[in-house]
């Protein structure tokens, strides 16, 4: 199983690239020309995202650096503590949907401090691995096509993050407890 997983993550990208090009070649597609044709849109798309991402990153950066995030976490602590879960992992519930880099740094800290094989390390690893950064995905995906009115998309993302976090804690307590 372990061998298989490492092999997949090692081989996936090379195999995909070679397979697509070779298959297309046999279908008589001018592979290089096709590549250039598709690739030329990449730059414009990336540039289109800048205003969206700058706007979002400014708000997140202020929220974190001012100490507002720590303040919010302090308010949540007593509530979450009642359930009997290691309180060290709580910040992840707020960090994970907001900032990918921030939550990865926090998870890495937890793993270094408590060890990867501790309950805290396992819960943090599972939270980090099982979901993506909701605000980032929303900003980039909608930003790229100029969507400004996001309707219910953010609500759906945040609700599923909360469900995922609760599920992670329950699952880890059951499996590793």
């Amino acid at each position: 199983m372990y061998g298989l997983i490492t092999a997949i993550s090692l081989w996936a990208i090379p195999v995909i690239i070679v397979f697509i090009s070779l298959y297309a070649f046999f279908k008589k597609v001018p592979v290089y020309e096709s590549f250039i044709d598709g690739a030329k849109d990449g730059f414009d798309t990336a540039i289109k995202i800048i205003p969206h991402l700058v706007g979002m990153m400014v708000a997140i950066s202020v929220f974190r650096a001012s100490g507002a995030m720590d303040f919010m976490l302090g308010l949540l602590h007593p509530v979450l503590n009642l359930i009997g879960v290691p309180s060290e992992v709580f910040p992840l519930a707020i960090l994970r949907p907001i900032t990918g880099a921030g939550s990865l740094a926090f998870t890495t800290d937890l793993i270094q401090e408590h060890g990867p094989d501790s309950m805290i390390g396992r819960i943090a690893s599972t939270v980090q691995g099982s979901t993506d950064t909701t605000l980032y995905v929303l900003t980039v995906y909608f930003g790229a096509v100029g969507i400004r009115k996001t309707r219910y998309a953010l609500k759906v993302g945040l609700i599923s993050d909360m469900v995922g976090f609760a599920a992670t804690i329950i699952i880890c307590m059951l499996v590793f407890g």
């Binding site: 997983i5 993550s9 990208i13 697509i20 297309a24 597609v29 592979v31 096709s34 250039i36 044709d37 690739a39 030329k40 990449g42 730059f43 798309t45 990336a46 995202i49 991402l53 700058v54 990153m57 400014v58 950066s61 202020v62 650096a65 001012s66 507002a68 998870t107 890495t108 060890g115 990867p116 094989d117 390390g121 396992r122 690893s125 599972t126 980090q128 691995g129 099982s130 993506d132 909701t134 605000l135 995905v137 929303l138 995906y141 909608f142 790229a144 096509v145 100029g146 969507i147 009115k149 309707r151 219910y152 998309a153 953010l154 609500k155 759906v156 599923s160 469900v163 699952i171 499996v175």
Partner: protein, 195 residues
């Protein structure tokens, strides 16, 4: 809701910084954040150019069409508003496959390409369509089979068993994705009824 969260972050940040007497942090954080936003976009350029090029080869060779025919029932269920054989389906499917394999930097360009195709079907160009919301929901909860980054970090920290979280991740991601689909369907039904 995005408007509210944005305002909330900035306002609370201002109040906390002011009360704690370190308002100088505020402006520093603003410019840091702006710089981070641009840096991320620039690092996206190479990834986008590369994968959009490769995806065009796959499209021209008919591979994306094959993929969407293969997974038609899934698409019908998740995206009832997309017409049959629409080009967005192939991109949605490649986006989901890349997510499952933990290929984050391939998933983003494919997802963006799918959004562009969905935007062509969208009547209200500045408002997200139900199909766009579903695609977003699938990506924020992102079905992950192999969490590559976290396995690498566990290995680097001498875990006795770096892979032991693969099972729990799979369960957690299945639950959060199911929740995303259910909640999305609920809102979608409400939205479609209104239209």
């Amino acid at each position: 809701m995005v408007n509210l969260i944005w305002l909330f972050f900035i306002l609370i940040g201002f109040i906390v910084a002011a009360v704690q007497g370190n308002i100088e942090v505020f402006s520093e954080a603003v410019f840091d954040g702006a710089k981070t936003g641009v840096t991320i976009c620039f690092s996206l350029i190479s990834v986008l150019v590369l994968w959009l090029g490769l995806m065009r080869i796959a499209e021209d060779a008919g591979l994306l069409k094959k993929l969407s025919i293969l997974l038609r029932p899934v698409v019908r269920f998740l995206f009832p508003t997309i017409p049959k054989d629409h080009p967005s389906i192939g991109y949605i499917m490649s986006n989901m496959s890349a997510n499952m394999l933990g290929l984050n930097n391939a998933a983003t360009p494919m997802g963006i390409k799918a959004m562009e195709e969905l935007q062509k079907l969208n009547l209200n160009k500045d408002t997200a369509s139900p199909a766009m919301c579903t695609l977003l929901a699938l990506n924020t909860s992102s079905i992950t089979i192999i969490p590559t980054t976290i396995i690498a970090i566990r290995m680097a920290n001498q875990s006795m068993d770096p892979f032991e979280i693969v099972g729990t991740t799979l369960m957690a991601t299945a639950i959060s994705t199911t929740a995303a689909i259910v909640v999305d369907k609920w809102y979608q039904r409400k939205a479609l009824r209104k239209e």
